[in-house]
């Protein structure tokens, strides 16, 4: 029977079945400094990590972005989170990086970058944006701390079989339209609950044409449409991306031969099919407090929901391009890879930021690469701050927070109330659009700048 990419991976990982649930084997468990409840509970049971060789850690949520010294954390509690992470990793002999390692970074940047994420794997992490890793043809999803503890103790997870959805995106993206714009358009189309209970496979010529980094951005925000996971079938771009990565298989050809069996068979049936024309897309921005509140930059603020307008301090009917911003954040697991920084730097180059702007690379290695290309210099000359890798102002857990009513143009993934600081107002957009907003001081159509 014809099977989808998801079904092939799922079937390969079922150890046992019981009362409608499948016990799945977990190939990779990525852990970070937010996972202390799971580690504490595991220790309380007198257990240690059962398979440290399937586990990898990097600190990201709580690390300061101003330096690589935990002592620079703004409070003792935040500092303690980074230190507790380190203690837990060592106690359990989990392969990991520390804050001062060049390979440190946001867990969803580090996994693909290090070749920890491979096609055909089941990969989990205590973070909802684990859907990112599906870009390489893995089944990757976020879990809670009780599930983390279960994986640490058993290397398995009880899961309900998921429904499947295929989102086919065809056509050629117009200039100025990035992967971020594509996923914002998908979420606007199907809604924040549009894919609840589903694993999404992104297909179509526009997806095939995307670089791996673009696919990572696409899959990253699957959770913002409610999807359990997002995935893209592995192809030559995937294999090229993985070749030579530190944890890529040594016998790479043998691995590729297996990976080539993974793509969805012709005739496989999905529970739901959605399609989108990439050629009709424009650069997008969000105006409200859910990622589904996204519109082309040429649009106007809608009348509903009122609660969102009230929180965002906006009036129905005003042009999105008339919205003045106070601050810019370029970073997060959605948009902090080298291609993102190049796109932002291309707009910042030779211009000056009119508002405070910060760039937080996704990993130490992205930072290093950007510096080798002189992007840090471009950003600094344009008045942008150049920081160290971590989640930073996407979620503010390290203390990088917006102020009440401060309006932030952000390349992150969530515009929820209070997400970037209590009362802070978030507009989501692509790296180039965020850089354009920085140099104009308004939400700006990047096509009018470049």
């Amino acid at each position: 029977m014809a099977r989808s990419l998801f079904e092939k991976i799922w079937d390969r990982h079922v150890i046992a079945r019981r009362a409608g649930q499948c016990l799945l084997y977990v190939d990779r468990h990525l852990v970070h400094d937010g996972g202390f409840h799971a580690m504490n509970n595991l220790a309380k049971r007198g257990l240690k990590v059962r398979r440290p060789q399937n586990t990898f850690g990097t600190p990201d949520h709580y690390v300061p972005s101003v330096s690589r010294n935990p002592a620079d954390a703004p409070t003792a509690e935040i500092r303690r989170m980074v230190e507790t992470y380190s203690t837990n990793m060592k106690r359990n002999a989990v392969p990991h990086v520390e804050i001062d390692d060049a390979r440190q970074g946001i867990v969803h940047i580090v996994g693909p970058e290090q070749g920890l994420t491979l096609p055909g794997m089941v990969l989990v992490c205590g973070d909802s944006h684990t859907s990112t890793h599906g870009a390489l043809g893995a089944l990757a999803f976020g879990i809670g701390q009780s599930e983390n503890e279960h994986v640490l103790a058993t290397q398995t997870l009880w899961q309900s079989p998921q429904k499947t959805m295929r989102i086919s995106i065809d056509g050629v993206r117009p200039k100025g339209v990035s992967a971020k714009d594509v996923i914002l358009a998908v979420i606007a189309k199907i809604g924040a609950a549009g894919a609840v209970g589903h694993v999404v496979e992104y297909a179509g010529s526009a997806v095939r044409a995307m670089s791996i980094e673009e696919r990572l951005t696409l899959c990253n925000m699957s959770i913002e449409a409610g999807a359990r996971a997002g995935m893209v079938a592995p192809d030559d771009s995937t294999f090229q991306y993985l070749s030579g990565r530190p944890f890529a298989p040594e016998d790479f050809d043998q691995a590729v031969a297996f990976w080539k069996t993974l793509p969805t068979d012709a005739g496989a049936v999905f529970d739901k099919e959605v399609s989108l024309d990439a050629a009709a897309l424009e650069p997008m921005v969000t105006w409200g407090t859910s990622p589904e509140n996204a519109l082309p930059i040429s649009g106007v603020v809608p009348a509903k929901p009122e609660r969102a307008l009230d929180y965002m301090g906006l009036t129905a009917g005003m042009k999105l391009s008339d919205i003045k911003i106070d601050r810019v954040f370029i970073g997060s697991c959605t948009n902090s890879r080298i291609e993102d920084l190049r796109a932002a730097a291309a707009i910042a180059k030779g211009r000056k930021a009119k508002v405070p702007a910060m760039v937080v690379p996704g990993s130490g290695l992205v930072k290093k690469q950007a510096e080798a290309e002189g992007l840090d210099k471009v950003f600094r000359e344009a008045g942008f701050e150049w920081r160290h890798a971590g989640c930073s102002m996407c979620v503010g857990m390290n203390g990088d927070l917006g102020k009440p009513q401060e309006r932030i143009a952000s390349t992150s993934n969530r515009n929820f109330e209070g997400r970037q600081g209590q009362g802070a107002r978030t507009h989501l957009m692509s790296p180039a659009m965020a850089a354009a907003a920085a140099v104009q001081g308004y939400l700006t159509d990047v096509r009018k700048i470049s």
Binding site: G20, Y25, I143, G144, T154, V196, D251, M397
Partner: protein, 199 residues
């Protein structure tokens, strides 16, 4: 260790917004708190600043069941969200749909997420607004919710229902399958010799 749940009767509060995310349920800055100190005070911490928020209501503020709207608990995987509900005394949330991770996290924390049709949730919320203090009963044994507007069947995955009804420890259960897990791992590794362990 799973907390047992069979049947729960309590005052219910209505909460209308769709897409209530876990950042609303518990802002991220509270997630570093030790669990021993309790998470109840963090529940909807910032949303409570609105005077008309349900937890500020003299009657709904004492509710231990929430009747909410579509896609409740979307967003972040933070288990602090069900910790906060649990430690504030809530044992059930009723909504047309839930964020998948929140749904799973609830069941691991002795909270039963009940999915009922949108129009049923709406009619329960409307009734509650006009009859503050109304109690609902969530009966997991019978898969049934009893409300003044009707009695409704619901379903949680049977595996997790069993865990909740019996208070089974899921990790203990899985570890009892260790020989089967080990046999799987051996076959799996043999079929993919190129997949080297991390070190």
């Amino acid at each position: 260790m799973a907390e047992k749940f069979t049947r729960f009767t309590a005052v219910a509060a209505p909460y209308d917004p769709v897409n209530v995310d876990t950042d609303q349920i518990i802002p991220a800055r509270f997630l570093k708190a030790p669990r021993e100190n309790g998470y109840g005070g963090f529940l909807f911490h910032d949303a409570r600043e609105r005077p008309d928020f349900f937890l500020n209501h003299p009657v709904f503020g004492k509710a231990k069941i929430l009747v909410a709207n579509t896609n409740f608990g979307c967003g972040s995987s933070r288990e602090g969200a069900p910790y906060a509900f649990h430690d504030a005394g809530f044992r059930s949330v009723i909504a047309p749909s839930f964020g998948d991770i929140f749904f799973n996290n609830c069941m691991k924390n002795g909270i039963v997420p009940v999915r009922l049709e949108e129009k049923i949730c709406l009619s329960i919320r409307e009734y509650l607004k006009h009859h503050a203090g109304t109690e609902l009963t969530v009966d997991l044994q019978a898969n049934r919710v009893t409300t003044p507007v009707g009695t409704f069947e619901f379903a949680v995955p049977p595996f997790f229902r069993e865990m909740l009804l019996e208070g089974v420890d899921e990790i203990g259960l899985t570890l009892s399958l260790l020989p089967q897990i080990e046999a799987f791992e051996k076959d799996y590794a043999a079929s993919m010799p190129w997949l080297a362990p991390l070190s």
